[in-house]
Structure formats: structure tokens, C-alpha cells
């Protein structure tokens, strides 16, 4: 199968790979780059677990043609932590028991990061809107929304 060279910045690191023609970014990240943090869920843009940031904006990597990220910046959950230190969102998710099966978590974290990077003090409604394209079948969403508000330094109103 024909392959195309693609160069992009992956979690801050210059990356050059060959992508199969017509392949999606998620496949390239997982199978070629070796970053297993974004997950394959539905393959149709419904579940959001494959969300990555491209130039800081959330995108569905399963629907992104890999070659379109040429020269762009791609950030995934795998690049969130700083060495042994978890990102504040990861800490808040862990402390708030915001993951049960955990399959939606990578997409939730990246959708939340996109929101907080743009709007560090979101309202609850803004958080709900930011993750409106992410499905969770375990938590009922409230612990996730609470964790994002906690990471933003907002009170979530949750009783510990």
C-alpha cells in the first residue's frame, strides 16, 4: 500500500512517519507512533474517546485524515503529565473517582484541556458543553464535570 511521509509535532516532539494512504490519525498514532493513549471507540465521531488536540483545538482523530496534520501540533493524553507529575486534570479525575472503566477518559481529558486552555474559569454549563461530544457509559457524567471544575479551581459543589 502506498505510504506518504508526514511530519508533525507529537506531544512536543518532532515526529516524522510514513502513513498509509487514506489512513486516519488515530491508527497512525497508535500503530506507527506507538502512542496508545487515544482510543478507538465508534469510528464514526460519536463517542469522542479518540479526541486529540490539533494546534490546540479538539479533533476526532478517528475521522482525521492522517496526512492533514503535516506541519501541525498534535497533543494526546500521553503527553499530559510532566515526568512523574500528573496534569491537574488527571489528578482531579483520579481524586474524584471520575473514571470507572476508563475507556472514555482520554477523550474526556483532552476535551477538558481544550476548554481550560481557552477558558480557565468555566461555568458548569460550559464544562457540560465542552464534553457534549464525549460519551461515558459508567459515571453518569457528574464526577467528570466535577473533576474538570476542580481542576479549574472552581468549586464543584460536591460533597466528599
Amino acid at each position: 500500500m502506498a505510504k506518504k511521509p508526514v511530519r508533525f509535532t507529537h506531544n512536543g516532539r518532532e515526529t516524522a512517519i510514513f502513513a498509509e494512504s487514506g489512513s486516519n490519525l488515530l491508527d497512525v498514532l497508535r500503530r506507527v507512533v506507538g502512542d496508545l493513549s487515544p482510543k478507538y471507540g465508534c469510528g464514526q465521531g460519536t463517542c469522542g474517546t479518540c479526541i486529540v488536540l490539533i494546534d490546540g483545538e479538539p479533533h476526532l482523530s478517528c475521522l482525521t485524515l492522517a496526512e492533514t496534520v503535516e506541519g501541525r501540533k498534535v497533543d494526546t493524553t500521553g503527553g499530559l503529565q510532566n515526568g512523574p507529575d500528573l496534569h491537574p486534570l488527571q489528578k482531579a479525575f483520579m481524586e474524584g473517582f471520575s473514571a470507572q472503566c476508563g475507556y472514555c477518559t482520554p477523550g474526556m481529558l483532552m476535551a477538558a484541556k481544550a476548554l481550560l486552555d481557552r477558558n480557565p474559569r468555566p461555568t458548569r454549563e460550559e464544562v457540560v458543553e465542552a464534553i457534549s461530544g464525549n460519551l461515558c457509559r459508567c459515571t453518569g457524567y457528574d464526577p467528570i464535570v466535577d473533576a474538570i471544575l476542580d481542576a479549574a479551581g472552581q468549586t464543584s459543589g460536591r460533597v466528599a
Binding site: G22, E67, S132
Partner: protein, 266 residues
């Protein structure tokens, strides 16, 4: 095997279209087809043409490039009247990818944005320079071979334009139906009314029976009731996993009434 060819201009991309070739816009329809093993095409053509991502005023109308995303629609002051429609489509990630041009070809039950454009006197411009009414394009969209380069829409005044999306999943879900209406008034009476439904047929379509019930009348209870009585006249809504045809017929008058009484104002 899927091959991908990228061109600098939309005109070059249009010339490269052949059998079993699909035009790649934002990817939300086409990559989904690829992921699910669609064998009906083996070649994708795309263009880097900056004009595809442009929004600009043209007199009393707005020209929107076919590659403009839903996020761009929300961000641009020129398309503020369409922002509530764009916000109703998917989450932020999808809106960063889904394009105006793609929505014109989105199969049932998608196409909420096209439903809104339909009432705004929308005309589609293809890469070869031809121009057609959106209604015409939607009626034969499966057989059109050209590439839509841009759409031109009228700018509604005040609260003349209304849109309502009905979904069973909150805060975001696929449409059971969507309704758009453009209701200009002259001397207190409705004039040149346009009403369209999405997800009530194979493609978004205008609802002539409702338009006729509203035309020339004032928007009072009597007029609204007359319009709701013919809300599904001549329509053949589909059954799908979201709703049966029966359910769609039952709820359409309810949601039309709510829209006409003001729920769905900008």
C-alpha cells in the same frame, strides 16, 4: 486501497473527479465511510484552496466557503444568526471538523445546517462556476458530480429566522427532526415565508403546506393552529433507530407550534 490526491485549488480538484472518487471536505462523513469499509469509492480528492474557508458579505447576502467549519460559523460575527444552528451540531471536536459543504450531503438523519440554509434562500456555487438553488441541489444530491465551492445565503433581520432541533439525547444528540423558519413581516403580515424540516424525509425539504398556511397572515394563535394542522401534509418521514415515522408525524405539529410561538428564536 484508498488513494488521496491533494490540489491547490478547488478547480483543479473538480477536474480530478472521476468515477468512484469522493471529494474530501472535513472528513466527518468520508473517514467514517472509510472506517466502516465502504467499497463504493477508492479515491479521495481534496483541495487546500483558502477560498473554501472564507466567510464574506456580498451586499445583503453572506458567502460561506464550503470548507467553513461549524466552529467558524459560531466564531464569525457575519454568521451570528447561524451560530445557534452550528452549536446544535455535535460537540466541539466535531464542530472543528464538520463543514458547511459536507452538511449539504449528510445522509438522513443528519443535515440540520442544510435545513436552516434551505429557508435562507440559499444558493450553492459549484467549482465550475455554476449556481443552483439549494433546494434543487438537495433534490438530486446523490447524482451531482461537481464540487460545491460555496453557498450564498440571505441575512435575516431581527427574529425573523428561527431554528429548533429535536433530539432525545441531552445536551446533544441526533435529530428526531429539525425545523427552520424564515418569517419576514410586512405591515404585521407574514410575507415570503419559508419553513423547512430536517430528518423528516430522505433530505431536508421545505414544507409548502405550512408555508401556505402562514403566508399573508399575522402570526397569531389562529394562524399557528392552521399551520400545525397541515404540519406533515405530503410528508413521508422515515423509520429509524431514533424514531418511527408514526412518532415523527405525531410530534412534528407540537414542535412546529413551539417554534412559531417563539421557542427557537435567535
Amino acid at each position: 486501497m484508498i488513494t488521496v490526491e491533494t490540489f491547490d485549488t478547488i478547480a483543479e480538484a473538480a477536474r480530478a473527479m472521476q468515477d468512484r472518487t469522493r471529494y474530501f471536505g472535513g472528513g466527518t462523513l468520508l473517514m467514517r465511510a472509510v472506517n466502516y469499509g465502504d467499497q463504493s469509492f477508492h479515491r479521495m480528492v481534496r483541495a487546500r484552496d483558502a477560498s473554501l474557508r472564507t466567510i464574506r458579505r456580498e451586499g445583503s447576502r453572506i458567502l460561506i466557503g464550503a470548507g467553513v467549519t461549524m466552529s467558524q460559523i459560531i466564531a464569525s460575527p457575519d454568521t451570528a444568526f447561524l451560530a445557534p444552528v452550528a452549536r446544535a451540531i455535535g460537540g466541539p471536536a466535531l464542530r472543528n471538523m464538520a463543514t458547511v459543504g459536507g452538511n449539504l450531503f449528510a445522509p438522513h438523519p443528519y443535515g440540520d445546517f442544510a435545513t436552516a440554509l434551505l429557508v435562507l434562500d440559499c444558493r450553492a456555487r459549484t467549482a465550475d462556476g455554476s449556481d443552483m438553488a439549494l433546494e434543487d441541489l438537495l433534490s438530486r444530491r446523490d447524482s451531482i458530480r461537481g464540487i460545491v465551492a460555496a453557498v450564498s445565503v440571505a441575512r435575516p433581520a431581527g427574529d425573523d429566522f428561527r431554528f429548533r432541533k429535536v433530539s432525545r439525547v441531552k445536551p446533544k444528540g441526533v435529530s428526531v427532526m429539525s425545523i427552520a423558519a424564515w418569517m419576514p413581516r410586512t405591515g404585521g403580515r407574514l410575507k415570503d415565508v419559508r419553513v423547512a424540516y430536517g430528518a423528516m424525509g430522505s433530505a431536508p425539504a421545505r414544507v409548502r403546506s405550512v408555508e401556505q398556511a402562514l403566508e399573508g397572515r399575522s402570526l397569531d394563535s389562529q394562524t399557528v393552529e392552521a399551520a400545525t394542522r397541515v404540519a406533515t401534509e405530503g410528508l413521508h418521514p422515515p423509520d429509524d433507530a431514533l424514531a418511527s415515522a408514526w412518532y415523527r408525524r405525531e410530534v412534528a405539529p407540537v414542535h412546529l407550534r413551539r417554534l412559531l410561538f417563539g421557542d427557537g428564536r435567535r
